[in-house]
Amino acid sequence: MMVPVRCFTCGSVVGEHWEEFEERAKEGDEDPEAVLDELGVDRYCCRRMLVSHTDLVDVVSPYQ
């Protein structure tokens, strides 16, 4: 639903990078690999947290 706060595997805080990643790589047309490198998300466990995430708040909110 919302981005996980931390990486499931190593525990580093990844949530803080989500908005910039979404804006630049998911909505924008930058290369996700380059964006993640720039954000300092180095390990592949943390990278998959952002790459594979989908926000669902907009999908669920009409059914409150």
Binding site: M1, M2, R6, G11, V13, G15, E16, R43, V57, S61
Partner: protein, 249 residues
């Protein structure tokens, strides 16, 4: 333990560092690693009272998210177990509640990361909570782990033993971690982890240096790497003292 330690930094930052320890046994190196992960207490939100939550997430889900937000941990001795710091959060939609919206009752304990989204609130939704942060060890819950991805490797010594034959194909030789080359410490990432790139046309031998460990330590922001390692060493010392006292006649 006999002998002296020698600690040397390869890379040093506030939140991430790589350092070499010489003269430690494998058991001690692992002891330090485990202490960093599980025995250094940090602050984290432990109990949440919901005053209003009309967001799309359940109370429990939000409580977990709040708990995972790293908080700055005060100097040793400021807080003992069961001491409580209260933080509050009050956000009305349409807006996103961030970790920076947490208002702390104590200036020593504040969110270490400001931009962690807690929950997105739509028109008419509101989140008001009061949360208690406690100091605990990583053993009890992962949110209290100060060290992230803490690990170590043997230091590797690289020696040039000769030249490759003239028309021999150069094969890549991948190494990870830190290498020692005639007393100089080098992170293998500097030459793309490939010894063939650093020593073109040479035959090299790689061997582990006994009792030398290169630690890689990252913290979640609760404190600096230096603080984490010192506290981990202190916690081992404290337990050793306790054991000594306990077995005395």
């Amino acid at each position: 333990m006999p002998g002296e330690y020698d600690v040397e930094f390869v890379e040093r930052g506030d939140r991430e560092a790589r350092f070499l320890v010489r003269g430690a046994t494998p058991a001690f190196a692992n002891g330090i690693r485990r202490a960093m992960v599980a025995d250094v207490p940090t602050m984290a939100i432990d109990e949440v009272r919901f005053i209003e939550n009309s967001s799309v997430m359940f109370d429990e889900q939000l409580a977990l998210r709040l708990g995972l937000v790293p908080l700055t941990t005060p100097p040793e001795g400021e807080f003992v177990e069961d001491d409580v710091v209260t933080l509050s959060l009050d956000v009305s939609g349409p807006a996103t509640a961030y970790s920076r919206d947490l208002v702390s009752g104590d200036a020593l304990v504040t969110p270490a990361e400001e931009n962690v989204p807690i929950i997105e609130l739509k028109e008419g939704q509101r989140l008001e909570v009061e949360a208690d942060a406690r100091i605990e060890r990583g053993q009890t819950h992962a949110k209290h782990q100060g060290g992230v991805a803490v690990g170590y490797r043997h230091l590797q010594r690289v020696e040039v033993v000769g030249d490759l034959e003239e028309f021999e194909d150069e094969e890549s030789r991948i190494v990870r971690g830190v290498i020692e080359d005639e007393g100089e410490l080098l992170n293998a990432e500097e030459f793309d982890n490939d010894l063939a790139k650093r020593y073109p046309g040479k035959e090299v031998r790689v061997e582990d240096v006994p009792d030398a460990f290169v630690f890689h330590v990252e913290t979640d922001g609760s404190f600096t790497v230096e603080e984490l390692v010192t506290r981990a060493a202190d916690s081992i010392e404290a337990r050793a003292d306790e054991l000594e006292e306990a077995v005395q006649l």
